[in-house]
């Protein structure tokens, strides 16, 4: 490794912390805590300088969206405004205990309520819970709502339908909520096959999980037929909000007759992803599902905002407190800053950028679905694969040119998939550089395939052995 582990900076007796002197009498821990008293704690013994230098050095081994384009399809890595970071650190907004009385946090509750209103307007949903702490958590919350809905109706439906192009979280979520997963294949145009859907749907169907545009970036034109087919058997239709940034201001899930959905605040509203979190996955529902939302639910009373705990039909709780408040602050700040027409412009430019990239790359790389697409699109590296160079190699080679790689091998319905989503915050110059790099790599594959197969060449580590990692897990020092 390029930078040794923090423990390897240890020297016995070295410290980095500072605390005031204890100002009360010391008690006899041995006699009082006896059998509970810890004997050894093998944590690092380092100095503050060690800590600062070590994690500074580690950061330099990382690539964030401030480092350059991050075209991970379906992950939506857009610029994270610094003003939102500053805002979320204002002590009056951040130094709050979750169990402070509502009277003491009216400013924050107003912000959260404002966020709820905007999310409802953007999605055409009626009620919102902010409790889920990530997108997948929002999915889970949604499916538990579906479950609770049928429970309240004394129906015991067992199946959830998921298209084959769905994110892995969809089937996993359905399973966690206790459902069987029925996968349906897409049609040749990359959309839900209506016939297959009709066949799959029956009175045992609890819900269909769908994102629109789907993971191919293709809008389900027959969406109203789809929701109708599902509704006809009394089942619900759930919208995976991962791709909201493709339609905001142009269409609303509620108008497409979805019954409930989750949002990904980082994907749509620019909150940082932090190298894997925190996220925030609010869930929006139509009125008839509102009783089942987790508790407490934020409400506006006559003269104050409050948390409503009196929710007997609620699925109860999915989070210890109210969800990832700090993330919500940032999303709120984003919506306030950008505004209604700005959100629409954002959508337009996300779609424009994706279509521009597609237009410039579709000749060199195979485009498995010719259908019009929105904010992202999927290429296939199958032509390159014929030269013995797989999509993984192309991705690794991109790293050599200081650019992050697209999502690869997803969606599963495309072989050697290269799933690209530039987002609206990239400009044409960055996109052109990305295109030129991909075209260059494609030329390299023709002229010197080994060069690409052995990529990356310039990174601090190169093609780590994942098989070894899984076979002989080394998970701690």
């Amino acid at each position: 490794m390029e930078e040794k582990l923090i423990k390897d900076y240890s020297s016995p007796g070295r410290t980095a912390y500072s605390l005031p002197e204890l100002d009360v009498e010391k008690r006899d821990l041995n006699s009082e805590l006896g059998g509970y008293l810890r004997e050894d704690l093998d944590l690092p013994e380092v100095s503050e300088v060690d800590v600062v230098r070590h994690y500074t050095a580690l950061s330099e081994l990382n690539y964030g969206v401030d480092s350059g384009i991050y075209p991970l399809g379906s992950c939506t890595m857009k610029y994270n405004p610094k003003r939102n970071e500053k805002l979320a650190r204002i002590p009056g907004l951040s130094y709050l205990h979750p169990y402070q009385d509502e009277d003491q946090v009216q400013g924050s509750l107003e912000i959260l309520y404002d966020l709820k209103l905007d999310l409802a307007e953007i999605s055409e949903m009626d009620e919102i819970t902010l409790q889920p702490a990530s997108g997948a958590h929002g999915e889970f919350t949604s499916l538990m709502i579906v479950r609770r809905y049928f429970e309240a109706r004394d129906e015991n439906r067992k199946n959830v339908i998921v298209p084959d192009s769905a994110h892995g979280t969809n089937p996993a979520t359905a399973k966690m909520a206790g459902y069987n997963v029925i996968e349906i294949a897409s049609n040749q145009r990359g959309m839900v096959d209506l016939a297959a859907l009709k066949e799959a749907v029956d009175e045992n169907t609890a819900a269909l999980m769908l994102t629109n545009p789907n993971t191919l970036g293709i809008f389900e034109e027959d969406i109203l037929k789809i929701t109708e087919i599902v509704h006809e058997v009394g089942a619900l239709v759930y919208y995976d909000g991962a791709n909201m940034n493709a339609i905001m201001g142009y269409a609303k899930p509620g108008d497409m007759d979805f019954d409930l959905m989750h949002f990904n605040l980082h994907k749509t509203f620019s909150t940082p992803h932090g190298g894997g979190g925190p996220g925030s996955g609010p869930v929006g529902v139509k009125d008839f599902l509102a009783p089942y939302l987790p508790k407490p639910l934020l409400k506006k009373g006559k003269d104050k905002y409050y948390w409503d705990y009196e929710r007997e039909n609620s699925i109860t709780k999915v989070h210890s407190f109210y969800g990832n408040y700090g993330v919500m602050l940032r999303a709120w700040a984003y919506i306030k800053t950008v505004g209604g027409s700005g959100l629409k412009k954002t959508t337009e430019n996300a779609v424009l950028n994706a279509n521009y990239l597609k237009a410039r790359l579709r000749e060199e790389f195979e485009l498995p679905y010719a259908e019009e697409s929105l904010h992202e699109f999927v290429l296939s590296g199958s032509r390159q694969k014929e030269k013995g160079v797989s999509t993984l190699h192309i991705a690794k080679r991109l790293l050599d040119y200081d650019q992050y790689a697209p999502t690869i091998y997803f969606p599963l319905v495309v072989k050697e998939a290269i799933m690209i989503e530039p987002t609206e915050t990239e400009n044409i110059a960055t996109l052109n550089r990305f295109v030129e790099t991909l075209l260059k790599i494609s030329r390299e594959i023709k002229e010197d395939p080994e060069l690409v197969k052995n990529a990356p060449h310039n990174t601090s580590v190169r093609r780590l052995d994942e098989t070894q990692a899984a076979r002989n897990p080394d998970l701690r020092w």
């Binding site: 969206v65 805002l87 946090v105």
Partner: protein, 445 residues
Amino acid sequence: MDYISNTAAEQDEMLKEIGVKAVEELFAMIPEEISLDCELDVEAGISEMELMDLAKEAAAKNKSLEEMTSFLGAGAYDHYVPSIIDHLISRSEFYTAYTPYQAELSQGTLEAMYEYQSMIAELTGMGIANASMLDGGSAAAEAVTMASRISRKKKVILTETIHPAYKEVIKCYGKGHQLEFLELKSNSEIMDPAVIKENIDQETGVLVVQYPNFFGSLEKMEEIAKIKKEHKKLIFVVIANPVLLGLLKAPAEFGADIVVGEGQGLGNGLNYGGPYLGFMACKDERIMLRQLPGRIVGKTTDVDGKEGFVLTMQTREQHIRREKATSNICTNEALNALMATIYLATMGKKGLAEVAEQSYHKAHYLAEKIDQLADFEVSNKENFFHEFLVKSSKDIKEIKAKLLEEDIIAGYDLDKAGKKGLLVCVTEKISKADMDNFVEKLEVL
């Protein structure tokens, strides 16, 4: 303002390349019936200056702990957060990165997560740990479903002394897995081990205990450990406070199979309840590892034989295994885990113990003082660590309200948890003067 980088001229150039005349054409596939015909009813955008003014206005409507002395705990703890943490996590290479899919450009996050796993494992005494969960409650819930998968039994014993919110989350998650819960009642602030013992039967797959428990008390862990020993197939889940593990014996020593908890106290601010992080550790056994939910980072070597880090054991995860995954978890709390990592490195061997120790001494100082007051009694004085239960002949709500006028948050009103009393928490941040003032104000109520 917006975050669109392209100018109008560039947009035109791009439209030309695409072969359409106007950007609206790119949305032509959206059926007319569902195509929005008006602007979103969301207020117009504002400038940074206006945004900051708006935020400060909101902050002014709050009353933050900066202006008060708080004895609130109950699952979210106001420990001191060293300033280097925010400095370091504010490096954009960390916080603007995605989940480390391309390991070569993500060694920073990955190595830090490996360190996190190592230190959580050390702290809990367990063999391995994952790279973080969403929060304490959901980590507890996932631990219970994991334990049930391992024990292959659906019956779960919960103790009454677990954090009430955690119990709700556990039960919510349990529903999807068709778990049955048996919640054991208690007559005091700790569980009677005999009650636990007599309620375990052949069907029982999981036992959950909190350490210290919701009331700040230490359960009779050694006796519970004995019970666990007698039931080899029972999976023993301990919900622990990681900060206090700086002084308290690791749950592993009491036979825990899975240890989870809220990691907020480890260098994360209060933030009105989130983002926090759940931690999860378990025994280093293949069956455990295979059932462990969430991201896991492993050390391996690259083509040049150089050591490095990758996401590993991904075949347990949703993006590979789909409905057969151990959890749907995708995004976790990586940045919060990084904060915990830097915290543990900074406090280190000696500092974490001192935080726990100071919290202990101070809490006991305060408890004794309160216990001496005429109308107050500390009911768990025998066995608490840094949080204790105060009973009073006076009305708790009134006490709280009166003290608020003095800028003191007296604690957590147990009314919300269906009990009577005030749960008072003391950390190393509270000074003797703060406590003396608190007692004085209680006295003259």
